[in-house]
Structure formats: structure tokens, C-alpha cells
């Protein structure tokens, strides 16, 4: 996992599943602990919020997702995934105590030091809360470094909202404004929060863009309209951060598939500003 030397760069660390939690239908969070202390030390040294990893089930292969736990909590790795492909389906059938593989952390990070002293607006949709959550907890764990924190989170239906326990926890904290919403028709009779699409609800919430940055993660369609809304609210593209989620196999800038134009998402990303993304060829996303 080191950059130099004769060590094989595709060699993963061994991880043991320490705990698991169901978040939504077919969405699960695993807490993973390093089997080898040296691998753990390496992770503690290198991991910063925003980085990703390749999680592997032996016999099935590797899958790429973000590290959903923050850089302020490095005793373990948490990942949240939806059961869709070959690897994630098997991962969903794993038990506590099972061993899986992990390569990483790879990629760049959110520049948290640039967020200090600023208001932060988080905007997330559906299964894209996990990469955002890593940043949210990094900020909440050192709350006094940041000014106002606003979280706008929505999903198609109430059932599809992930991290329900944490949403509850954030809503009870006095130092976070949490706005939850579901798409029209996705509400349940006892739903007491917003109904509406994320960009609309964001505009209603109208967080100030003064001395503020925005972090948004979501499906491409949500990103597209959220960008318009953030623009209306006065956020400059260079103050809007997001992550790109292309298919990856190596994570190391070699396997040749995650590029958008000349930009390798695995090396130069996954964290980009909206200003950087605007320069990439839209026809390659």
C-alpha cells in the first residue's frame, strides 16, 4: 500500500467485520477493524475525509466506495453500501466476525482546514449521504472550528433515508440545522418533515452564502439541479464541493477507466469543486 518499494500495490489489508447496521431496504453499514496492527497504523497515518477504498469479498472481487467514517475516528472504517452487484450482494450476506479485504485509503480529500471559520451547508440525496456523513462528523467532532452547520438531506421515500439514528441525533443537537425531506409521494402518514425535491427544499431553507461553503453529494440529476439552486443562493462554484463516483478497479491511476476527460477521478478526485467540474467535458460524465 506504500507508494514506493517492492511491495505489491494491489495487496489489500485484512479487515474483520466488527458490527453491522441496516440503514434502509438493501442498504447496510459495516464497521470494519484492521486485523494487522501495521495496516491500521498505515491507515491512521494516511486517511483523510473524502478518501475512498476498495472493499473486497474473497472469491467475489472488489468494489469501490467511500470511507463513511470521519478522519476524527480512525479506530475503525465504516462503509455503507446498497446491495446491487456481485460484491455488494455477498457483502450483505457476511456476518460479524467475517474477514474481508480493503485497499486504500486512496484519492484526495475535503480541504477541512479551508472550511474553518465558515458556515457549512451540506446537501445530500439518498445513498449519497455516506460520503457527506464523513465530512459532517469530521466537522461535528471539532464543532468549535466551524460556524453554522446546515444539513439538507432528502430521499425518494421515508424508507430510503439512511442513517436514521444519526438524523435523530443531529436533529436533537442544538448546533446543527437539519432539514429532512422526501420526494412528493414518498411520505408516510406520520412524516413530520418536508415534502419536496432536495433543490426546492434547499432554496426554501435559503442558507446564506456569506462566508460559506457547500458540500453536496447525490445522484447526477440532483447534482444538476442543486447546482442551479446553490448558484441562485449566491454560492460561487469554487466554494461548492462534491465527489465524483466513477467505476474503478485499481484506485491507483493505472486501470484506465475512471477518467472524465483527462482527469483521473481516483488520483485527482474524488473530491472536486463545482468550478473544477465545469471545466470537464460534460459528455464524459
Amino acid at each position: 500500500m506504500t507508494a514506493e518499494g517492492n511491495e505489491h500495490i494491489y495487496k489489500p489489508a485484512m479487515m474483520r467485520i466488527a458490527a453491522m447496521r441496516d440503514e434502509a431496504p438493501q442498504v447496510r453499514t459495516l464497521r470494519l477493524e484492521f486485523v494487522d496492527a501495521a495496516d491500521h497504523e498505515q491507515f491512521k497515518k494516511n486517511y483523510r475525509t473524502g478518501m475512498f477504498g476498495l472493499y473486497g469479498v474473497f472469491g467475489e472481487g472488489e468494489s469501490t466506495f467511500c470511507v463513511a467514517s470521519p478522519e476524527t475516528r480512525k479506530d475503525y472504517i465504516e462503509c455503507t453500501f446498497r446491495e446491487t452487484g456481485r460484491v455488494t450482494s455477498t457483502l450483505a450476506n457476511c456476518d460479524v466476525g467475517d474477514m474481508i479485504s480493503f485497499r486504500g485509503p486512496y484519492g484526495n480529500r475535503f480541504p477541512l482546514e479551508d472550511f474553518e471559520g465558515k458556515n457549512i451547508v451540506f446537501v445530500a440525496g439518498g445513498i449519497a449521504l455516506p460520503p457527506t456523513r464523513s465530512v459532517i462528523w469530521s466537522c461535528l467532532d471539532q464543532r468549535d472550528k466551524f460556524k453554522k452547520i446546515t444539513i439538507v438531506y432528502g430521499a425518494r421515500t421515508v424508507a430510503d433515508l439512511v442513517y436514521k439514528q444519526e438524523l435523530e441525533e443531529w436533529s436533537k443537537r442544538g448546533d446543527v440545522e437539519l432539514v429532512q425531506t422526501v420526494d412528493p409521494g414518498g411520505e408516510t402518514p406520520d412524516w413530520k418533515y418536508k415534502i419536496g425535491f432536495v433543490p426546492t427544499v434547499l432554496e426554501q431553507t435559503a442558507p446564506s452564502s456569506d462566508n460559506a461553503v457547500a458540500v453536496m453529494c447525490g445522484p447526477p440529476i440532483m447534482i444538476k439541479f442543486t447546482l442551479v439552486s446553490l448558484n441562485k443562493l449566491g454560492f460561487k462554484p469554487e466554494n461548492v464541493y462534491t465527489t465524483l463516483e466513477n467505476r474503478m478497479k485499481c484506485g491507483l491511476g493505472k486501470c484506465g477507466r475512471c477518467n472524465v476527460g483527462s482527469v483521473y477521478v481516483c488520483k485527482e478526485g474524488p473530491v472536486f469543486t463545482a468550478a473544477q467540474i465545469a471545466k470537464m467535458p460534460a459528455g464524459d460524465m
Partner: protein, 336 residues
């Protein structure tokens, strides 16, 4: 006077290498195909070929490379790393375009994270190339600013003599020098009577092509749709390319044991970039062909200061629908 290696000394060369524990590889063929493979005896070398069907890259980056193997026992997994074989080798009678392809890919496998599988084989190999005295209509090294006698990637370059009985020996690297030291007594001193290298006409203006590709507006040009219409997405051009390096990492095995391996992959395939959600950033054959050209002549040189093409022409020579890089680049060059 020049140092000459006579063809009739090749078996002695092989014997010398063998006694030093070094394997010899070179162009070989069966009744259907040709490739670079192990050679036990000089008669196996297919020295009359303009170019083998397959490229040199598979000797450094095999189509399937085992990375690790594992045993699963209930909740315990025993994992064992796998490495390339620990064997020194000389690869003989390589074409300069194939050798250049390896040098081009050194940059990719070496940047930031170093791929030890590639470099173990690089360190253990000496590349002895032969300058081309014949070419076919698909050869395009000169269009890529290389040549039939390019030394890029070679440790030794051999120049065929006029009488066809051997080669003048040119030492390029220290590794080449070491090889010559081993076979020094087999070399003869003779007048330098080398044959003329092949004439490979320039097919397009590379600078014009590179400039056109660098213009962001051309990314959305209708040109891409027109030029890629015939492409059936078979990926043959990528597998037969000396520089195409894209790969997949896959597990094979069952509940109890298996292997994780690196396999060749291709940007021509729809699955290559397909997201789990079903979204595909490159959903059409047009977008995939554009990626291939842009990668070779814009992205790669932007990162590594070299085009990812050494001009062997295999992509065009063996394309089932008669497409290939030449046509695309020639059309771009003509349009500017």
C-alpha cells in the same frame, strides 16, 4: 570495423544464455498465429515476419496475472501474495515499435504507485531489437515520430547486414552491454555492410492531430460519430496494441479458495465504465472510440509527455471492420 552477430551463431547464443540460467524469448508462430514466446532452438525464431500478430506487452503485462491466492476457513482467510517468476530473460528479435511500446508504458506503471509486477519483469529482461528492413502498408512508426530503427525501449539494436547472414550490433544500454559481454566471443569483426531500413511513409501530420484533439470544442464534434460508425466494440485493437494497458481486477474461485487476478480489459467494452446504478459515462461506441483516441494522443501525453502509440499498425491490420487509428488520425489531419 563493426561487431557482427551471425545468424548461424544463434544456437550458440541460446546455449550461452542457458548455461547462465537466462531464458530466451523471441517471435514464434504456429499455423495460425505469431507472438513473442520462449525459444529453445534458433529454428523456432520467426525472423522473416514483419511483425508478430500479438505484441511484446504480454511478456510484461500478461493477459491474466495472479495477484494473490486465498483459502477461506469459516471466519478465517489465509491470503498469500503471488509474484512473477524469478527468471532472467533475453527477448530477441523484437521490433522497434514493440520495444517503444514497453518504454511508453513504463511511465504509467511507474507513476506515483509503482506496479512491482511490471517492473520485476522489466528488470529481469533484456530487449534485443532488430531494425526493420521491410514494412507493410499498415506500419506507421514514422507518423508517430518514431522510426524502423528507433532505439526507444531497446537494450540492443541489431542492424541486418546486406548479405542477410547476420546483424551489426549496437549497444544502447548497460543491460545491453552486459548481454554483449556474455556473447562477446560469438561476435565477429567485419565491414559495416548493413541493409537499408524500411521506407515507412508518413501518413498524417501528428502535430495537427494533437492540436485538434486539444481543442475542447472538438470533443463534441460530429466527426466522432461519423468515424466510429463501423466500430463493433470487439476490443481487438486494444488487446493487440503494444501500449493499451487497461485492466480489471477479478476474483476467481469458490467458497473455500480462489485467486485474485489482474486481467486485460478494454475501453471498447460498454461494461468498462458502467456504474452499478446502470448509468454509463461512455454509453455509446462513439464515446468509447473517442476515449481511446483522446487517451492515446491527448490525456497520456498530457501526463507522461509521450503519445500512447508506437505505430505498429496492428489495430488497423487486424480490425475486423477495417477501422483503426490510422483512418481516424488521417481524417483529423486532413480536416485541419
Amino acid at each position: 570495423m563493426a561487431k557482427i552477430l551471425a545468424k548461424n551463431k544463434l544456437n550458440d547464443v541460446i546455449a550461452k544464455l542457458k548455461s547462465a540460467g537466462i531464458d530466451l524469448f523471441g517471435p514464434v508462430r504456429d499455423d495460425k498465429h505469431s507472438w513473442y514466446g520462449p525459444v529453445e532452438e534458433a529454428g523456432q525464431l520467426a525472423l522473416d515476419l514483419i511483425l508478430t500478430d500479438r505484441t511484446l506487452k504480454e511478456l510484461f503485462f500478461p493477459q491474466t496475472e495472479p495477484l494473490l491466492k486465498f483459502e477461506i476457513k469459516k471466519q478465517q482467510v489465509d491470503m498469500q501474495e503471488m509474484s512473477p517468476p524469478n527468471r532472467q530473460r533475453v527477448i530477441f528479435a523484437v521490433r522497434p515499435c514493440d520495444a517503444a511500446g514497453i518504454a511508453i508504458d513504463d511511465a504509467l506503471f511507474g507513476w506515483d504507485y509503482k506496479d512491482s509486477y511490471w517492473f520485476k519483469r522489466r528488470n529481469d529482461s533484456t530487449i534485443v531489437s532488430i531494425a526493420c528492413t521491410a514494412a507493410d502498408e499498415f506500419c506507421l512508426c514514422t507518423s508517430l515520430k518514431l522510426s524502423p530503427d528507433s532505439t526507444k525501449g531497446s537494450d540492443i539494436l541489431l542492424w541486418p547486414t546486406k548479405d542477410g547472414k547476420g546483424w551489426r550490433v549496437e549497444e544502447i544500454t548497460d543491460k545491453g552491454k552486459e548481454f554483449l559481454g556474455r556473447i562477446n566471443e560469438l561476435l565477429e569483426d567485419s565491414e559495416d555492410q548493413t541493409a537499408a531500413v524500411a521506407n515507412v511513409p508518413v501518413k498524417f501530420d501528428l502535430d495537427k492531430v494533437v492540436a485538434w484533439l486539444a481543442e475542447p470544442a472538438n470533443f463534441d464534434s460530429s466527426f466522432w460519430r461519423e468515424i466510429s460508425r463501423r466500430c463493433i466494440g470487439c476490443g481487438a485493437c486494444t488487446f493487440l496494441c503494444p501500449t493499451c494497458h487497461c485492466f480489471d481486477i477479478q476474483d476467481e474461485g469458490n467458497t473455500y479458495h480462489g485467486v485474485r487476478q489482474k486481467n486485460w480489459d478494454s475501453c471498447s467494452f460498454a461494461m468498462f465504465t458502467m456504474h452499478t446504478s446502470g448509468h454509463n459515462p461512455r454509453p455509446t461506441q462513439m464515446s468509447r472510440w473517442r476515449q481511446r483516441i483522446m487517451h492515446k494522443f491527448n490525456y497520456y501525453p498530457g501526463k507522461f509527455q509521450a503519445n500512447s502509440c508506437s505505430g505498429c499498425g496492428r489495430c488497423t491490420r487486424q480490425c475486423p471492420v477495417d477501422m483503426g487509428i490510422v483512418e481516424t488520425l488521417r481524417e483529423i489531419s486532413k480536416s485541419v
